[in-house]
Symmetry: C2
Subunit: 316 residues, 2 copies
């Protein structure tokens, strides 16, 4: 299952509106087929893996991070049917599909056809790899990650606006990796005007993974950029699983104040700026006590001389 | 030597103006005496260890973090003489004393008396434990540590000034441990008026280690508090090895702008404050590039839900 999860995670950022599923087919202890959801969501991971396995799928075990779909569509047959037709004898699914069109029907159809079915194996890892899509299923909006590049003292720029460069090359390369796994990147109009950012993925081999670009602005549209008028517009993004908000301060504040950030990626450079632009503005906080219990540190590591801190919003 | 260093480190914060030396005497593989510089600087570590060893010092090896002193004073005899008299056959010193009154004379006197002498063993660890005193010898002022308790976004208080509590109990206990190893703690007048801080050590068994308290102010003196008129006054603190600057923002900024901070202890809570008081004010920075290369991350660890980051000033 770990391999299936890795395949699915690698496909993250280009399968929306579909989930980035990973699948591997094993026969006599040997992998005979593997795959992930293709760009744009079709074919599904199971179909890719089955096509690769061919006749070797007969009698084999199929591991998938998400329950195989039970719904036929004009874009392809139901994976549950494909699996039965291929003669797979055992299916291990990490997660049951929360999509109303499947929601257990896929596993039921497999069981009815005599396939041995196990669900729940590797559930946590699979859910992690599918967080974007799962968030959209649950909350009706993408999973939103806010990226901040800060000094020790929490500043993102000098009073003049100068912000290049706070973090070093390793941290910036990591940002590009995160971009590759996002379906859409958003900046505010201020950042757009100041930096004219390309927001593309500049990592060898991943250049084609550059996500869609969006602007948060009440002003004129810009060619090549999608427009969000307010953070609430994320509820209209039905084809975005993972949204990366890259700044600047006003945009970060707008999303945080609307409680529309699920995860903060904080790249911290070992420098002091002192007087300068704060990373975050007014959040409506009345007391320090009210600030506690909302964010949980989830990861921390060195990136060259900088440090990456990852916080996730605690939602109970 | 590791044991001698640990003994010396434990005595840090109460031996000024003398160094916090650690010493252990070993005979036939067994420790027969150990000690550290006593409160106020006398007796010296070697004298304490020799007194404990008594006759067992004859033919033994003595490990000390700093070269035994060669100068007699009205406060006690020279340690080099005591060691020779006790019949110690071998002395291992981590550091040669930079104090002009000794500066190798101690080791020379031992050698002249037929004692086998080794210097430089465990040098780095010993220098670490003696940083406060070594800084004073080298720069003519204490080693200065700045403590900051911040939110993720680098704020130390709400706009109202409310700052209790940003960090949790584990982080605050760690601050008390750092206080125990400081000779003096300093705050600004604003913090004094707002918080009426006791700045004492509230850790079981360490209550008596509370350091001297100082105020940075141009205003009226306050009973029980020593007064510094400006950060430059640290050059007049001839009896302080380790100075802990605890805030607030104006005081932190004054010390940083004067380049009189050697180490930053940063306690970071997983909260966002947004609009509020910044930790550091104007530092005279013209360009982001000028901020780089000054601070090196030296330590990082979790303290409950908070995180401690330690930065040291890079001085070339």
């Amino acid at each position: 299952m770990a391999e299936a999860i890795a395949l699915g995670q690698a496909a993250r950022g280009r399968t929306a509106p579909n989930p980035n599923v990973g699948c591997i087919i094993v026969r006599d202890g040997q992998p005979v087929g593997s795959g992930a959801t293709e760009r744009g969501g079709r074919p599904h991971a199971e179909a890719v893996a089955l096509a690769q396995a061919g006749q070797r799928a007969r009698g084999a075990s199929l591991f998938t991070t998400l329950e195989p779909c039970a719904h036929r569509s004009h874009r392809g047959p139901a994976c549950a049917d494909l699996i039965v037709e291929a003669g797979v004898s055992r299916v291990v699914a990490a997660l049951v599909d929360p999509d109303q069109r499947t929601a257990g029907d896929g596993l039921d159809r497999l069981r009815a056809a005599g396939v041995e079915v196990t669900a729940g194996t590797g559930e946590q890892g699979a859910a992690e790899s599918l967080t974007g899509w799962l968030t959209r299923m649950r909350l009706g909006r993408p999973r939103i990650t806010l990226k901040l590049a800060l000094s020790i003292d929490g500043k993102i720029a000098l009073p003049s606006g100068e912000s290049k460069w706070i973090t070093g090359e390793d941290a910036r390369a990591h940002v590009h990796l995160e971009r590759a796994h996002a379906d859409m990147i958003l900046v505010g109009r201020g950042t757009f005007l100041a930096d004219q950012p390309r927001l593309d993925v500049r990592l060898p081999g991943l250049e084609e993974w550059s996500p869609r670009r969006a602007l948060l602005t009440r002003g004129e549209p810009v060619e090549g950029w999608e427009i969000l008028r307010s953070p609430q517009d994320v509820f209209r993004l039905h084809d975005v699983n993972d949204l990366l908000v890259e700044g600047g301060s006003s945009t970060a504040t707008a999303f945080l104040a609307a409680d529309l950030v699920d995860r903060i990626l904080l790249y911290r450079a070992p420098i002091l700026i002192g007087e300068g632009k704060s990373s975050v503005g007014y959040l409506g906080l009345d007391a320090i006590a009210d600030a506690h219990g909302r964010w949980e540190p989830r990861d921390g590591r060195s990136l060259g001389i900088d440090r990456l801190e990852v916080y996730e919003r605690v939602r109970t």
